[in-house]
Each structure stands twice: as structure tokens, then as C-alpha cells.
Amino acid sequence: MNVNDSCHLDHEALKELREVMEEEFDVLISTFLQDSADRIVHLRQALSGQEVDTFTKAAHSLKGSCINIGAPLLGELCLAAEAAGRAGNLQQGQAQVEAIEQEFRHVDEALRAYLQQS
């Protein structure tokens, strides 16, 4: 499975981040993982509560950190979710959240593995 994580993670971006963050890199990654998990919960709650605005903002925020951390696929799924939210289409949003959850599992696993590697 590790063999194939290149579609989930942008290794170039991660390498650069590691250079920037140095010893704080680990903290950054775990913060990202924790925050992202929280946001996905928020996305779920917003869906069940039919709160379009909250949904959109949570998707937008998650998208931003995905782009920065180097998880491009997850970022794109968030962008699609944000777009669905803006369009007020929560049904579409529901499908996107499921895809996000699935992709996040991959990213989570790949990042933890990445941390172990180094």
C-alpha cells in the first residue's frame, strides 16, 4: 500500500515543509491529522443539520490545509465539497464527504508511515 501513496501525498511539498518546519514537522503533521479529523466530523454534523454555510466553510478550510500540507487529492475532494456547498446541494455534499472520509484514511495512513520512515 505504501508503494502507491504517491497519488495521496505530494512528496516534493512534504520535503519542503520538513525543511521549513525542522523539528516541528512532526507536530505539524499530527496537528493536521487531528484538525482534519475534527473538520470531517464538522462536515458530518453540518450535513445532518442542513447548515449549508458551515458546511461550505469547513470544506474550504480543510481544502486550504490539504493544499499546504501536500495532500492534493484530498484537497480536490474538499474543493468539490465546497463547490457543492456553495451551490446549496447538500446531497452532492454527502457523496463528497464520503469520498473525503475514504481519502483521509489513505492520507492519514500514508502520513503516519511517512513520519515513521524518517
Partner: protein, 581 residues
């Protein structure tokens, strides 16, 4: 990239991951970082810590970045606090909006530290430049305030000197900008001790303080010498001498001076470099008073000519003088007012009385704005009855009551000096030191002048006063006088002044004038009825009126005049000063 100083930078970003990354990048670039998790917190942090640069996420809970930016810019006031918007949006429209709402730049995700550093540095340079501009602006405005203050001070000093005169006399109308001194225009007017007045309009080259500097000595000379009884020629000569000496090359004073002789109904005009003046007649006609001389301060004393033109002028006739500011005032179309418009106004006025107001209106009409008045100096001086000036000299003579009151002095002029030097101003000056006597300077001036002229003209030069009976005789008289003055060697005139105080507020001045001439049969004078004696007899008649006692002695070459004076007290109006019969 040297000299990039450490800044305090506020990072407002709700997303922990992004904030951590940004914070680390910025900190590693040597800046001090403060953070906020939403817009409200960002505004509070800004208020509390006054960071120099702000990174703001566009979308944040509670208050978004754009709203926060508005608050921050408002708080920053005149200071430039650059704001960089953080955004994961990539479309041109969203990015443009960041700048439209007051952001100075934007940074897109993923963050690139090289680009961020370049942006921070660029914005900091902008900030520093803005600060410099502000500092210089403040500096300039402070200097300007200082300059205006100094101008106001200089103006006060100048006003004290220049406005001791009688510009407010009833026969003078003028336009003069309050700050005219700084565009080089001056206007002086002062009553003469002998009656009448001197008026001077000057236009110094240049602007600002350099233009004002020459005005001070000019004013001093004009007022000082006029009060002491010097003639227009003597005053002009002295002004020219002084200005030529003190003004730098290329600086001078275009000016015109008037000597109004209300008693004889004459005006003498000297114009050096000013635009044509005008003598407006009661019948509506007018004469040009052209500049016949170079400006003051140009020629060395030996080449300067104070020669005046002399005009008869009846009561109500008037002289108009202006600086070139009027002729050269521009309207909105860039045209000059010019001499033609000036003379059109004069021609279009039915009586000389209207000209001044019509000119003023025409200039206002022409230029259409108030600003132009700053450069306009215009004066109109009207021939008036002599009495008009009576109380002027009283108003101008505020001296303290200390000084010599009991004294005697003898002054003798000999030989050539008789033809070159007029001792009256000097002698008058001596008398004016007597406390209170200044109020009577006009009468004393007249007495001294008449006594000295009689001694020189009739005593020594033996000129027959009967010559002066006709206007043509006047010319012959003066020609003859010039001729005879060439051979006064061996002659002398001795003037003795003797003053005794009479109480605190009065005294008697004895003036004795003796000459080396053959004398005359003074007994004959007693029998002449002075009222029939016309102009020539006026001298003696006037002396009789002014003096308490007038006695000739010897062979008629010695005359003693006694002048008594008393300050008018509140209780008695018995002897008003300057009352002429």
C-alpha cells in the same frame, strides 16, 4: 537583501496547520510573530500590539479577513500597515478583490516561503518609504508653520516701522495686501513738519524675506527724514544711497515719491521704474507721471538724480500710483490686465473721484479670484485743504516727556557750505529733543526755514523778494539764486537757539539768526501792510503770526525771534498746536 529589519507581523488564520506553517516561515525570516485565529481576534491583536505588517486569511469565522482589514486600516490611520491576504482561491476575480478591499498583496496556498519573503520585503520597503514621506511632510508642514510665524513676526516689526505714517489720512485711498511686504511692495505716507505730506510707493525686486529686507531701512529713512523736515530730494538721495550700499547686485527698488504741498497747491513727483502714475484733473483730464529715473539702489550716489517734476494741483485733484502687480495680474485665460485697461477705466470715469473704485472693481472683475489681490498695490492721494492734516501730526507725535529743556547752542555755516547744506533739519532735530516741543515741529520748521532763507537769500545773496511777485519771476529768482550761490566765500550765517522751560508743559525758544550781509532797512517793514504784500511778504507775515516777538537789530543783519509754546491741557484750549492763520 540586506537591511531588512525585524518586523512585528500579525498572522490571522483560523486553520491551525496553515497558521503553524506560516508562523514558522515568517519567524525563521527573523520577524516577531503574533497570531490570531479569527477576524475579531486579529483586530484586537492589532489594537494591542500595533504590528507593522498583517497576514490575513480571507475566510475566517466570526469576522472575515476583508472586514478585519477595514478595521485595521482605519486604526492605522495615516500610518501604512501593509496587509497580505491569504487565500486558497486562485481565480483572478478573487485575487483582484483582495486588492480592491484594501489589501496590499495576496499569497495563495500552498505557501511558498521565497515568494512570501519577497512580498514582505517589498511591502516593508513601501512602508518605510511611506514613513519617510510622512516624516518629510510633517517636517515641511512644521517648517512652513515656522516660516509663517516668522513672517508674522517680521510683519509686526515692519508694521511698527512702516505704519507709523498717515496712510489712514482722509485724502489717501489704497489697496495693499496685508502680506505685501513679502512680495516687496511698500507704501509709506507721512505728514511733513512744514505741512503737506510725503508719500512713497516702492516695489522691491524679488519675493519673501529678500524683498522685505530693503523695506526696513527705506521706511526708516522715509519717516525719519520726513519728520525732521528733509526735502523730497534729500530723502530720495539717502534712500538710494542706502539701498545701493546694502542690497545685493540685481536687487533694487522701483519706486515713486510724492511731495504734496497743500499750502501752495503743488505736487512734486519722482518716478523711478514704477509704471506710469496719473494725475487726475478735476475736469476729467489726466496727465501721465512717467518714470524718468532708474530704480532706487541702482546708481551710485554721484550719478543719482532726485530731480522731481512739479505740477500745480487744485483741491480734489489726485495722483494715482501703482506697482506693476496690477498691470501684470492675469485672468483665467492668461491675459494681463495691462496699461490699456487701466487707462480705459480712467477715461471712462467722469470725475476723478470715481477712478479708484472703478479700478478696483475692474481688477476684481478681470481676475475673477481673490488670490490676485496679493500682488496689487494701488494708492490714490488727493490734494486737500491744509487743515485736513492738522491733527495728523499730533497723532504721530507720541514722545515721552524727558529730555533737555534748558539749553543754548550756536551753529555757524561758512563759505561754500552755505550753498550746499540745509541746516534746518539738523536744527529742528535739536529742538525736537525738548520734551513736548515735537507737537509744534511744523511751526518751528517754518520759523527756522523762513529765518534762514531770509538770511541767505536776502541778507547774503541780496535777492530782491519783489522778484517773486509773478510766476515767471519765480524762475528768474531761482536762476539768479543759483548764480549768486557760487560766490559766497567769506560769508557766514550764525544761528543761535536758546530754550528755557516754562513750567512742565511749556517754554520759550529764542532763535537768533545773524548773517554777514549788508542788512536792510527793517524799519520799513513795520510800515508795510502785510496783507497787501502777496507772496514775497508772506515770510515775514508768517513769522509775525507764529512768533511771540520778532526783532531786527544791528544793520538789519540780525534777527531775534521768540517762540512761546505750551502743551494744550485738558482744561484750556487756549493755544492749540499747529493752528495756522
Amino acid at each position: 537583501m540586506r537591511d531588512n529589519p525585524a518586523l512585528t507581523i500579525l498572522i490571522a488564520e483560523d486553520n491551525n496547520t496553515d497558521r503553524m506553517i506560516l508562523q514558522t516561515i515568517v519567524r525563521k525570516q527573523g520577524h516577531h510573530v503574533i497570531t490570531a485565529c479569527d477576524g475579531v481576534e486579529a483586530v484586537e491583536q492589532f489594537r494591542a500590539q500595533r504590528p507593522q505588517l498583517v497576514l490575513l486569511d480571507v475566510m475566517m469565522p466570526r469576522m472575515d479577513g476583508m472586514e478585519a482589514a477595514r478595521h485595521i486600516k482605519a486604526m492605522a490611520d495615516e500610518e501604512l500597515v501593509p496587509i497580505i491576504f491569504l487565500t486558497s482561491l486562485n481565480d483572478a476575480e478573487s485575487l483582484a478583490e483582495c486588492l480592491e478591499v484594501g489589501g496590499d498583496d495576496f499569497l495563495t496556498k500552498p505557501y511558498n516561503r521565497v515568494i512570501l519573503q519577497a512580498k514582505i520585503n517589498a511591502l516593508n520597503r513601501m512602508r518605510a518609504m511611506h514613513q519617510t514621506v510622512q516624516r518629510q511632510r510633517d517636517h515641511i508642514s512644521e517648517r512652513n508653520r515656522q516660516l509663517l510665524h516668522e513672517h508674522a513676526m517680521a510683519r509686526r516689526v515692519f508694521d511698527n516701522i512702516a505704519h507709523q505714517g498717515c496712510l489712514n489720512a482722509d485724502n489717501i485711498r489704497h489697496i495693499l495686501s496685508p502680506m505685501s511686504i513679502f512680495n516687496g511692495d511698500v507704501l509709506f505716507a507721512s505728514p511733513k513738519p512744514s505741512g503737506g505730506m510725503h508719500v512713497f510707493l516702492g516695489d522691491f525686486t524679488g519675493h519673501g524675506l529678500p524683498a522685505a529686507i530693503g523695506a526696513m531701512p527705506a521706511a526708516e529713512i522715509f519717516y525719519g527724514m520726513t519728520a525732521k523736515g528733509f526735502t523730497i530730494a534729500e530723502i530720495l538721495r539717502e534712500m538710494n544711497r542706502k539701498l545701493e550700499r546694502i542690497l545685493p547686485k540685481g536687487f533694487f527698488c522701483c519706486g515713486a515719491m510724492l511731495d504734496l504741498n497743500l499750502h501752495t497747491g503743488h505736487v512734486e513727483v519722482w518716478n523711478g521704474g514704477l509704471p506710469d502714475g496719473y494725475l487726475l484733473r478735476n475736469d476729467g483730464s489726466w496727465e501721465r507721471l512717467r518714470s524718468r529715473h532708474l530704480p532706487l539702489g541702482v546708481l551710485p550716489p554721484e550719478r543719482f538724480s532726485p530731480g522731481c517734476e512739479r505740477y500745480e494741483a487744485a483741491v480734489g485733484e489726485r495722483v494715482l500710483l501703482c506697482s506693476d502687480g496690477i498691470l501684470e495680474s492675469y485672468n483665467a485665460r492668461g491675459e494681463m490686465f495691462g496699461e490699456e485697461r487701466f487707462t480705459e477705466v480712467i477715461q471712462g470715469s467722469r470725475s476723478p473721484d470715481q477712478v479708484f473704485h472703478r479700478l478696483k472693481a475692474a481688477i476684481d472683475d478681470f481676475s475673477g479670484d481673490v488670490d490676485s489681490e496679493d500682488d496689487l498695490t494701488l494708492v490714490e492721494v488727493t490734494m486737500a485743504r491744509e487743515e485736513l492734516l492738522d491733527d495728523l501730526s499730533q497723532r504721530l507725535s507720541g514722545t515721552s516727556l524727558t529730555g533737555p529743556s534748558s539749553w543754548r547752542c550756536e551753529y555757524q555755516l561758512r563759505d561754500n557750505t552755505l550753498s550746499q547744506f540745509n541746516p534746518v533739519p539738523l536744527l529742528l532735530h535739536v529742538c525736537m529733543d525738548v520734551p513736548g516741543l515735537r507737537l509744534f515741529s511744523g511751526q518751528i520748521f517754518t520759523i527756522l526755514t523762513e529765518l534762514f532763507n531770509n538770511a541767505l537769500d536776502h541778507g547774503i545773496l541780496q535777492l530782491p523778494s519783489s522778484l517773486k511777485d509773478s510766476p515767471r519771476g519765480f524762475t528768474r529768482y531761482y536762476n539768479e539764486r543759483e548764480k549768486r550761490l557760487e560766490s559766497v566765500d567769506g560769508h557766514w550765517v550764525t544761528i543761535t537757539l536758546d530754550h528755557l522751560a516754562d513750567g512742565h508743559s511749556g517754554g520759550r525758544l529764542k532763535i537768533t539768526v545773524e548773517d554777514s550781509g549788508r542788512g536792510f532797512d527793517y524799519r520799513a517793514f513795520d510800515t508795510v501792510d502785510i496783507s497787501h504784500h502777496q507772496l514775497a511778504g508772506r515770510g515775514i507775515a508768517l513769522l509775525r503770526q507764529l512768533c511771540h516777538d520778532l526783532q531786527w537789530s544791528g544793520r538789519g543783519n540780525r534777527v531775534e525771534a521768540e517762540y512761546r509754546w505750551a502743551l494744550p491741557s485738558a482744561s484750556s484750549n487756549s493755544q492749540g498746536p499747529e493752528s495756522k492763520g
